[in-house]
Amino acid sequence: MVSLYVTMMTVKVFRSPARHGYAVEVSPYIPSRVACAASQYYGIAGCGTLLVLDQTETGLTLVRSWEWSDGLFDVAWSEANEHILVAGGGDGSLQLWDTANHSAPLRVAKEHTQEVYTVDWSQTRGESLIVSGSWDQTVKVWDPALSPSLTTLRGHEGVIYSTIWSPHIPGCFASASGDGTLRIWDVKGAACRLAIPAHKAEILSCDWCKYDQNVVATGSVDCTVCVWDLRNIRQPVNQLLGHTYAIRRLKFSPFDKTVLASCSYDFTVRFWDYSRQQPLLDTVEHHSEFVCGLDFNLHIPNQVVDCSWDETVKVYTPACLSVGAHSAAP
């Protein structure tokens, strides 16, 4: 599909030599601040580095970085304290970090028996919970003290790649797994409420629609994004085609109900409006390796951050997301 938008946008770039980016997240408190979880040697050997970056007019500067003894695969900012982050590591640990504390993590929790590939901090007002998903096929829920975990949830029959809290329903999160299912969980009942065989291949990512509490999207090794309405799981609401390799991460827009972004092993980031006949809005091709991390800025409309195994973190505002550049299909 020919891109209808001139992609002459300012891109702010941070280079982290010998560190391959796995995840990025914009601070919910400081809109110019971004955290990046990165690993030496593509995450298969060596150490990890957690980076905190601030945006300037033209670039990204390093605020703080910490080393960890194993690769780091995901990072989540606290929703209750602007200084605090949690990261998940290849050694099965969760670590709690404080941007005002230079030397070491505040806490380390070593319960998972394999890599922690995903961590998320609940956004729903009134609760402060962390969820982690691991290659040991379990999900754990924690409070910010981090030890011990509050609950361990079993049910997935494959590695867990993504665990994401619902932005609307307290105590509810979605998980995506190598077993091809999307599961919806209820922490209070310690139960899996729905298990959807969403793809015939591994599902590497999921995210909730920010404006419809029943809508979840999945991104898979089968190169497709599926959008699901949880009230009718027999077939997806839409299937988004375009990526040519596995989808590594996807995120729903914080500003537009039907807009989402996905990043892939095909080195691209794509933007979609799933309410349209032709959902693909644009393809951004500014990486030379797997793109693993992706986030929308919660407070700077249409700003996107991504990170890649090409050792860069990039911040940009794709033209296809500008106000008025798209509208819902009639």
Binding site: Y41, Y42, P105, L153, R154, Q213, A246, H299
Partner: protein
């Protein structure tokens, strides 16, 4: 050794075996930059990967720096007020997992 799920590796683009480090980086790297395929091979053969950084970090167990900032509303929270109770969960899932066996439950704390 850490394994990557095999399906993902099958889909790696062929540029991995001939990727080069660009000249743009300003800091010297610790060692010759190996490709993904080269690192995987070393690891699978049980060989040491050169330049692997070994660090041993202990937690400080200090208290978090106190927060001084107010939580900001998310864009969707200002759009319309959403109920804090959970009618949403019962709209799409009324009971324990229905379409798949969920085998073992574990609770460390009630």
């Amino acid at each position: 050794m850490r394994g990557c799920p095999v399906e993902q590796l099958d889909q790696t683009a062929s540029s991995h075996s001939d990727s080069e480090l660009t000249a743009e980086t300003s800091e010297p790297t610790e060692t010759k930059q190996l490709s993904f395929a080269e690192v995987m091979q070393l690891v699978q053969e049980g060989k040491e990967v050169p330049g692997v950084t070994k660090v041993d970090i202990e937690p400080s167990n200090q208290n978090p720096t106190p927060s001084t900032m107010e939580r900001m509303l998310k864009p969707w929270e200002t759009a319309s007020p959403s109920p804090e109770s959970d009618p949403g969960l019962s709209a799409f899932a009324s009971g324990p997992c229905c379409s798949r066996q969920c085998s073992v439950w574990g609770n460390q704390k009630s």
